[in-house]
Amino acid sequence: MSGLAHVFAQAPSPMRFLRLMGRMAAATAAAGAALAGATEAAAPDTASRWRLNGYGTLGVVHVDASPAGWGFTRDMSQPAQSGTLRAGIDSRLGLQVNWQATTAVEFVAQGVLRRQAPDAAASQRLDWAFAAWRPDADWTLRLGRTSPDVFLLADYRNVGFAFPWVRPNVEMYGFIAFQSLDGADLARRWQAGGADWKAKLSMGRNTTTQPNARTGADGQALPGVELKSKDLVIATLSREQGGLTVKATYARTREQVDTTQQLAPLLGGLRQLAAAGVPGVSAEAATLASAVDLSGFRARYVAFGAELERAGWHLMVELSRTAGDAHDTNGLRGYVSAAYRLGSVTPFVMLGRAKPERGPFAVPQHWAAALAPALGADAAAAAVQLGGAAAAIANTSRYGQRSLSLGARWDLGPQTALKLQADRYRVAPGASGAWPGSNGFDGGRADLVSATVDFVF
């Protein structure tokens, strides 16, 4: 299967991955040994304090998208793939080392091999690397790299064996910009009124390399875009009782996208137009410039999720709202899903929706008439082109689509599941942000058929 080879051709070589895991384990051990030596606490009398576990997914997706050339990705960190049969979308391999140094101190490192931007740093393959301190049965403090725990499934979105579908809902999970969080989190759990409560506060930062959806003038892929999330603060509160989990999240972040070099000529042109004081043009040029310039913006997320597992049913609903200075990323996203367990087979249905807050930009054709008297027809046409290019770029931040997914999970054994899923996507015009290869203006549709084998070990 050439598709499978392709996945790992884009990812670092397995040897490099294993070396990375080896370094992680060595660093964990060294830190742990120092800490264990410093404390008098006796380690628990257990058979083994080291544990190595892993998970993986092998999958293929058949994509039938229109307009032709649209690429399907399951999240923003994934580069586009060409061809109708694609193995790199859902396939992944995760490996985790745990070391319980003392009753209260644990070290965890997890690397995930999946398709990411080709120029993403090797350190971005490391999803988790932290030390956890549990002074008593209720409190946990973690330092290091953890996950941005923004949605119900955010922490285990890579672990296919943990959920019914082939992949988490794309409308909800596809746009999460940051894949990990370098910092600290403090969690406390308690019981009240027969329910288990958990509150968690996380703070940190993250750097993720996003593949560049656009190509240069020579048709070659442009270098990835580095997205820096700073001052990331996430607060979550969850309550579990009798199979019903309810979770509320608030997150805020300061994002920096380094696109200065690539966008400098475009932004320069727009700002000149904005400063020129031409009625019907300058205000629009200023709006476009601010929509394209994402060099620094603030964003806030509010999310609510509920999950019910009872009597064979597994129902989920999640809703999130993004608000902030980057208006085109603002919007509502959510999904509902129902799965029913019949022995070892679990059929499911899922409906997803993403709705941007404001409307799309169009090519500003009317600039031609407004600018021609002062600039001449050629310069006016060039300005329209510039405005069109800016509109297309601004629209790539917009997620406006619906999806319907049907499928089934079949537990082949206690550690392996086979999943089959069909998805139908309908994408609104000017809101194809989830689809690399789109021109920024067209709407579209895509039908997917996916098959995966998920396993844990």
Binding site: T46, G94, Q110, N158, L342, S344
Partner: protein, 144 residues
């Protein structure tokens, strides 16, 4: 396609007959001040929701390997989940660094030995232990 449907039907039929025939005994060290545990309390310990006995003492929770027949029976009786469901549940917690599943020991004999030697330990056995070093704190009844 017809073969796939046939295979699904066979799988359904097979998994409907979940094993839960005999009683299972949840045991702790004889000196553990905890005299009895409710099914909810044992569930909290085995599903990673609690790390302590009701009196606040740390609990060391021991399990059997993932492919052990008694493990399937135990979780079916305790929480009504199949081994695949239990593993799916744990993969949500363990790969997110929240908490690890109970430490598996290779055999029931190893569980008995560990609980007898360790005052904080808790485990489960298929037979009511004659050993005076351990105490049964909960009996999960099998199907009649």
């Amino acid at each position: 396609m017809r073969t796939l449907i046939a295979a699904l039907v066979v799988a359904l039929a097979a998994s409907a007959a979940a094993p839960a025939r005999a009683d299972t005994y949840v045991v702790v060290h004889a000196t553990n001040p905890v005299k009895a545990l409710s099914q909810k309390e044992v569930t909290d310990l085995y599903m990673g929701r609690s790390r302590a006995f009701p009196n606040g003492d740390f609990a060391l929770v021991f399990d059997l390997p993932r492919d052990h027949a008694l493990r399937a029976t135990f979780y079916q009786q305790l929480v009504g989940m199949s081994p695949a469901q239990v593993n799916s549940y744990w993969s949500r917690l363990m790969f997110t660094g929240q908490t690890m599943p109970p430490q598996p020991l290779p055999t029931e004999a190893a569980v008995l030995d560990m609980v007898r030697r360790n005052p904080s330990a808790i485990g489960y056995l298929a037979d009511e232990p004659a050993d005076r070093g351990v105490r049964v704190v909960l009996t999960l009844r099998g199907a009649p």
